[in-house]
């Protein structure tokens, strides 16, 4: 992304955004959904993407900056291909989330918030995922994995790594 000077939305996206904006009393309401789209399209939200969103919705850049920095799901920096977001709030904590985090970080050799050197995994702790009956919960790229234990994560990591080695990543 950093090399890309000019970013733009595809025609299709623009049409989608146009239709979306009409669903609200004011287009500015579409800001969160459009940032989600932009993040999907560009992977994360560096300044030029934020500027693009501002221009697309005819908002001031500051409005976009405020929103991007407020919400934790918006990333201003590139993350790994797989984002392992472990809920460590009370429900999961009572069910071993802390040990799980320790296990994952040790296995991958990174600290919380870091990305593995190969750019495959980023490990973060997140707040209550709203699925405490399935504690501990790990969200992997927006997908919920419930009742996760060390073995489950090992299997997942092994599979991803095998795919890389097999040239499929």
């Amino acid at each position: 992304m950093s090399e890309v000077e000019h970013v733009h939305f595809t025609e299709q996206r623009l049409a989608e955004i146009g239709a979306l904006a009409k669903k609200y009393p004011a287009a500015r309401s579409a800001l969160l959904p459009v940032l989600h789209m932009a993040q999907e399209d560009f992977g994360y939200l560096p300044m030029q993407v934020q500027q693009l969103v501002a221009d697309t919705l005819n908002l001031r850049l500051m409005v976009v900056r405020e929103v991007v920095t407020f919400y934790t799901m918006f990333r201003e920096h590139e993350a790994g291909k797989y984002r392992l977001e472990v809920c460590t709030n009370v429900g999961c904590m009572l069910n071993g989330a802390d040990d799980l985090v320790q296990h994952i970080t040790k296995t991958l050799g990174v600290d919380i918030g870091e990305t593995t050197a190969d750019g495959m995994f980023t490990v973060t702790e997140v707040e209550c995922a709203g699925a405490c009956s399935g504690a501990p919960v790990v969200q992997i790229n927006n997908e919920y994995h419930e009742k996760v234990d060390a073995a489950y994560m090992d299997a997942f990591i092994t599979k991803v790594n095998a795919d890389i080695d097999g040239g499929q990543a």
Partner: protein, 425 residues
Amino acid sequence: MISSDPKQVKAICFDRIHLVGQAGLKVARKNGAYKFLPTLLKDFDSEQIVDEVKKSGLRGRGGAGFPTGLKWSFVPRNTGKPTYLLCNADEGEPGTFKDRDIMRYDPHLLIEGMLMAGFALGVKDAYIYIRGEFLAEANILDAAIEDAYAANLLGENILGTEFSMNLTLHRGAGAYICGEETALIESLEGRPGRPRFKPPFPAVEGFYRCPTVVNNVETLATIPAILEFGGDWHAAIGVPNNTGMKIFCVSGDVNKPGNYEVPMGTSLKVLIEEYCGGLKHGTVPKVVIPGGSSTPWLTAEHYDTPLTYDALMKAGSMLGAGAVIVMDETADLIAVTRRLAHFYAHESCGQCTPCREGTGWLERIMNRVEAGTGCEKDIKVLSDAAEHMAGRTICALADGAAAPILSLLKHFPEVVQERLMENAE
């Protein structure tokens, strides 16, 4: 099928939740979804609906427990401005996971509830604000909304009547505070979710400064049954002033964590022992947080408390959103408190001085206390800092942040005392 005999009712929101394919419109309709809607649109007027809901005694399931019918009656009519209905599906309170099940297993129930509420309130545009992490649920809801549009259950002249309503699903992006209704409105307006002070209340000046009703998913999902069977029917379930069924999200140290919809007034003990298969260790819980992490703790002495707004209030806590977090004798209460302190420090929207600065301060002290390097005066500082956050801010997040600290200090001073200086040089 929901029984028309209040004594026989097993479930309201979860009545059809386990039916296979219920998320699809066809199956849902076969199972009774939207069955009563045509009658309602034809035979009821707004006032009647609000009256039925008032009569039902339904109280908001999002946390505050405010009577739903009363809230609806506050919406001014004929202001010349549109009225908006917003469904609060932000479900962020640690310990809650009920709305998620309604949305992913029976989305049409929610849509039907919103249609009925929208009809009662004269709403043209309604929105569901769903927490950003619930992507799978959002996709299910989106599909359901699309189906409903295709079946003329949403959009212009619904089922051939005068009534038209649009429904839009809107995803949040990771901020607990957006569950607070005014923060939700700010967020839906494309801004950071920073709560607004009240008055003015959303009913008068909410979304884009127009009259707005914000209701929780469970609240709205209860509406179809109330209108089909009548307010009195609902009022006969549960106990007076605490009527109907309530979903409790039980998590923590129980054998069968999960969502249980039970009549209001069921005791905590019954819920844990009869529904949740009892505690993992021991016979009496050390701590139960009855309404989600923001509610004060109950201890063993309150194990028999009936789960109602009033009884829990009397016991010094709150029913909140019905998120029952159970801790048995193995739980490290200091670690739990520290973790919750971290949660509130992370989620404070940052605008109010006591909350912005206090939550971080509490967390940092708790870090030390947990590490065994606390000191005697930390106890006074913790209680001072927590006490002066609660009730002095724009929204109730600060109260929620104070609750675990104050509960810990109140019920388990000796536990804290013991840990202080444990590892100090």
